[in-house]
């Protein structure tokens, strides 16, 4: 309970500071959230360079939204960043016209993802990387809403409440969606392993 209040307090404090044009608060938000927003964008669009550009744009858009009070419905800063990210990705899809290019890019050898692994032997590392590459290759084949919840829950570690707020669904719906998404992805990965 107390931890919840502290979390709420910090969030309100940061939002208020951002509204008061505080540079330091913005940098703190950037440092705390840039990696997860980057991951969300990267696993959604699959291209490193574009993910970099979009991530940068998302932070700038979030700053402008806060200054203009145009995203009042976002209860937390994290939710606000994800909402901006989702909208930016939709805009990106609209501009590029197709997602086909995106789905193939995660397999692209030139755009391999940097996975930082510490303290494991080379063989395990190779096996793990092979598994991860397989999962990554199958992620783009998931339905858009499945992919969203899988990235948010299992890769970026958001709570059900946060995912519900970002996606505009209730917690029960998010739970069902997660279950289905996980089954679908597992099926895709296992199907590929059998082949």
């Amino acid at each position: 309970m107390a931890a919840n209040i502290v979390k709420k307090f910090k969030d309100k404090q940061t939002l208020s500071k951002l509204k008061s044009h505080d540079k330091e608060a913005f940098i703190a938000v950037y440092d705390n959230h840039v990696a997860e927003i980057y991951r969300f964008v990267y696993f959604k669009i699959g291209r490193k360079e574009e993910a970099n550009d979009l991530t940068s744009m998302i932070f700038l858009k979030a700053w402008n939204h806060i200054q203009n009070n145009s995203l009042e419905d976002a209860k937390t800063l994290r939710a606000l960043l994800y909402k901006v990210a989702r909208n930016s990705i939709v805009d990106y899809y609209r501009e590029t016209g197709s997602k086909l290019r995106v789905t193939s890019s995660l397999d692209d050898e030139d755009n391999r993802i940097e996975v930082v692994d510490e303290g494991i032997n080379p063989q395990d590392k190779l096996d793990r990387e092979a598994d991860l590459e397989l999962i990554k290759s199958k992620l783009p084949l998931l339905k858009e809403e499945y992919r969203d919840v899988v990235i948010m829950k299992f890769i970026n570690d958001l709570t059900l409440e946060e995912i519900a707020e970002i996606s505009g669904k209730n917690k029960g719906n998010v739970r069902v969606l997660l279950h289905r998404a996980l089954s679908a992805l597992k099926e895709l990965v296992e199907g590929s392993e059998k082949v």
Binding site: I5, A35, S56
Partner: protein, 285 residues
């Protein structure tokens, strides 16, 4: 592959990280962009205000809000006057000190203690006014309006202190007549008639039948001891109260002297006299 293994592998993707060089350069780029749109560093005061309101918003549930309100109220009344104790009468925060002192007075239930503390506060205020007026840097032509208003405040504080002390004297005199009941000899029927030492009309009539009955049951010796104990303790209380009474009248005299010295613009001497009065009130506490 079990669901748990699969989820563990998905969790491993958390280690996917953007390029460090890009992170750093992008940070600088964003900082430049937001600086151009009016971003700045917040002042300490603004940060404090934001922290306060954020805390209030975070604890919006009534129970927490009530708890925080009660805590602020208690802390304010207990420690508020200590926080402002160094504020001088010519400072802008002086009013905050007066309010915190009033709050502290209101938290004291015992009327005697409250009157004593009120007298002490008034004496201290007068003392501080003397100290401020004794300073030639302040007491000059430029500040003549403030000096005049402080002079009026000084007289008010002295009169408040004297009033509080006289109330204390009245209270102790009344208590004295009550104690004198126990000090008087009883008639054979177990009735005791109060006559106070000043020779005034007795205020109270009481019966000691209950005491007499219990002591008789216990035997003559017990009765004798009981009577001795009662009269000696009552005698002690009377002398203490008489001392307090004398002390209060002495303090009032010192306050009169301080006021005279103040009127003669001998602020240093007035300050010393008031310090003495403060010590007297403290000792009475």
């Amino acid at each position: 592959m079990t669901d748990r293994d699969f989820i563990t592998k998905l969790n491993s993707l958390q280690k996917t990280a953007p390029d460090q060089a890009w992170l750093k350069s992008n940070r600088e780029l964003l900082l430049t962009q937001i600086s151009n749109s009016g971003a700045e560093n917040l002042s300490i005061w603004k940060t404090l205000v934001i922290n306060f309101f954020s805390l209030a918003k975070a604890s919006v549930r009534p129970a927490y809000a009530l708890g925080i309100f009660a805590l602020v109220l208690i802390m304010g009344s207990l420690f508020g006057n200590q926080v402002f104790s160094n504020v001088k009468p010519n400072d802008s925060l002086y009013i905050a000190r007066i309010i915190s002192e009033k709050a502290k007075l209101n938290t004291i239930l015992n009327s005697d203690s409250r009157d004593k503390l009120a007298a002490q506060f008034a004496t201290q205020h007068a003392q501080e006014i003397s100290a401020v007026l004794a300073d030639p840097k302040f007491n000059n032509e430029q500040n003549k309006n403030q000096v005049a208003s402080l002079t009026v405040s000084f007289n008010q504080e002295i009169s408040t202190a004297k009033n509080q002390l006289s109330r204390l004297t009245v209270a102790t005199t009344t208590d004295n007549s009550v104690v004198s009941i126990a000090d008087n000899s009883k008639d054979n029927k177990g009735l005791s008639v109060a006559t106070n030492p000043l020779g005034q009309t007795p205020n109270y009539i009481t019966t000691s039948s209950a005491i007499s009955t219990s002591t008789k049951k216990g035997g003559e010796n017990i009765k004798g001891e009981g009577q001795t104990a009662t009269s000696s303790s009552a005698g002690g209380a009377t002398s203490t109260l008489l001392k307090a009474d004398t002390s209060n009248s002495d303090t009032a005299k010192i306050l009169d002297q301080a006021q005279k010295l103040f009127d003669q613009k001998d602020y240093d001497q007035a300050f010393n006299k008031l310090k003495e009065a403060d010590q007297f009130i403290n000792a009475a506490n």
